[in-house]
């Protein structure tokens, strides 16, 4: 995990370091507290949304198109403002960060998008190395780390290939590698399987689960119900500005209701 160094830098309440703070491990990674967001006054996307995500959780966010899944994620990495309420990420209120602090917040969050957001003219390694270069890490360290991460996502040896020459599934793996290379506190996935066929979607979900197994907190936004049925996970359903938290997954909730 990397933190800012300047006086105005993002300084999370949970800090990595040699000294172990037992209390820090119990604190939630993210807390949405009565969050209100509207693009039009008469049609709010989120109305008093509250949610707490603990360290190491895997949470699906689902709902129909336009329900606010992407908005929820975008607010977390400060690409969208918050109209009312608080979003605490590692103890700091994201909504009140200064513009100068936002980059330091983003260094603690890995984001994967539906459209991959890869620069086609760059090689796979160059795309994956970006978060480490931004941190100013030495070239040799960057090279080693990129090699490790590519191996982890199943793209060992593909570093010199141009990103534009990869298939959809491979491109998404590169995007995942880029998101985790900086060892973020949290991994956000905004419809990462939206552009993939069902089998590839399952593969990519498996990749996220593997990453989650290493202790990374994952927030996975999708409208694909079939992905939610693969394994029971906590699901947050967004609909008409309201959120419904289903801690044991949709299947368990359906069984309970029956």
């Amino acid at each position: 995990m990397v933190f800012g160094t300047g006086g105005r830098a993002f300084r999370p309440a949970l800090r990595a370091g040699n000294r172990f703070d037992p209390a820090a491990a119990d604190r939630p990674v993210v807390v949405f507290d009565e969050v209100y967001k509207a693009y039009r006054a008469d049609c709010p996307v989120l109305r008093g949304f509250s949610l707490t995500i603990q360290r190491g959780e895997f949470v699906f966010v689902t709902g129909p198109s336009g329900s606010g899944k992407s908005t929820l994620l975008r607010m977390l990495y400060a690409a969208e403002g918050v109209d009312a309420g608080r979003i605490l990420f590692l103890g700091r209120d994201v909504a009140r960060l200064t513009a100068e602090s936002v980059p330091y917040l983003r260094r603690n969050v890995g984001v994967v998008f539906q459209d991959f957001k890869l620069v086609d003219g760059w090689t796979v390694s160059e795309n994956v190395a970006v978060p480490l270069e931004v941190l100013g890490l030495p070239e040799r360290l960057v090279k080693n780390r990129v090699g490790e991460v590519l191996e982890r996502v199943g793209l060992a040896g593909r570093g010199p290939d141009k990103a534009g020459s990869l298939s959809g599934g491979e491109r998404q793996r590169v995007a995942v590698a880029r998101a985790i290379v900086g060892e973020p506190a949290m991994l956000l996935a905004d419809e990462p399987t939206g552009n993939l066929d069902p089998q590839l979607a399952v593969d990519i979900l498996g990749l996220f689960e593997d990453i989650h197994e290493t202790g990374v907190t994952v927030l996975f936004a999708t409208h694909d119900r079939s992905l939610l049925d693969i394994r029971p996970r906590r699901v947050v359903v967004l609909d008409e500005g309201r959120a419904f938290d289903v801690p044991q997954g949709l299947d368990a909730a359906a069984l309970g209701a029956a």
Partner: protein, 289 residues
């Protein structure tokens, strides 16, 4: 990958756009470089004439040889006066007319070539002292008129002021042109690399980090544009000098020279600074993601 590497990668990807920008900046700089070249040489001619160490004393047509000899003797005895040479009317005619002279020149009357005393003054002779000598000479009965050549220096001085003013105005035009060209190029380049910028911002790059390669690209465009202009004007100067060197030296009294090294470096530096400033300003409000 440092900022230079990122700038090189960006410029390589958009090389046609950058080439166009360098050419446009170069065209703007050509005007400034050419004007400065003229100003520098006019300044040298002006300096040459300002420090001219010569006075021509034109004698009346009926002046007695004895009076002329006395005058020559008196001049030689004066402080600040070097050589004194008598040029007769016939000698003056011979000096001007040669085999290539036209009939019109040859038909000029004898009065057009008065006899004169060509006086070499000391280099450091003050203008006031030169004026006083001229005034004293004018009052003598054998003297028709006295030419100190200072009016030429004054005329060149006036031309020089005009040239410097023109150069200053052109510098402003160049400034506006460079800022406009580089800003447009940077905006276009930013649009083409929007995804790259977006990715950088999303992984936590600061605005300064994102801006650095663009500023370097702007600086290189400005500096390369100025260099291109210097090369073009230098090439033209070389051609003109090869063809007309003898004539120009005879006409101006000095051999024309190209811009001094510090002016060359200054122009390249100016291009670089203007390009960097233009890139910095144009991207200031365009990096929000």
């Amino acid at each position: 990958m440092n900022s230079l590497d990122r700038a090189y990668r960006g410029a390589k990807g958009d090389w046609q756009l950058h080439l166009l920008s360098v050419f446009s900046v170069g065209v703007a700089f050509v005007c400034l470089v050419a004007t400065l070249l003229v100003v520098v040489n006019v300044e040298r001619v002006h300096d040459r004439w300002r420090h001219v160490s010569r006075i021509s004393v034109y004698l009346r047509s009926g002046a007695e040889p004895a009076a002329i000899a006395d005058l020559e003797k008196a001049l030689r005895a004066s402080s600040g006066i070097g050589q004194v040479r008598f040029v007769s009317s016939e000698a003056a005619r011979r000096e001007l007319l040669n085999d290539d002279s036209t009939d019109a020149l040859a038909a000029l009357p004898e009065q057009a070539f008065p006899a004169s005393l060509e006086v070499e003054t000391a280099e450091r002779l003050l203008p006031e002292r030169r004026q006083r000598i001229a005034a004293q000479l004018k009052s003598l009965p054998a003297v028709e008129s006295v030419e100190t050549y200072e009016s030429w220096g004054e005329r060149l001085g006036t031309a020089l002021v005009g040239g410097v003013t023109a150069a200053a105005i052109l510098a402003l035009v160049v400034l506006a042109a460079v800022i406009s060209v580089v800003s447009s190029t940077m905006r276009l380049s930013l649009q083409r690399r929007r995804l790259e910028v977006e990715v950088l911002k999303l992984v936590g790059a600061t605005d300064a980090y994102v801006r650095q390669p663009f500023v370097l690209e702007g600086a290189s465009q400005g500096a390369c544009g100025a260099t291109l202009a210097l090369l073009l004007v230098g090439l033209l100067y070389g051609i003109v000098r090869t063809q007309l060197d003898g004539h120009l030296s005879g006409l101006l009294g000095i051999a024309p020279e190209f811009l001094p090294w510090f002016a060359v470096l200054g122009l390249i530096g100016l291009g670089g600074v203007l390009g960097a400033a233009a890139a910095q300003l144009s991207l200031r409000k365009l990096l929000a993601v």
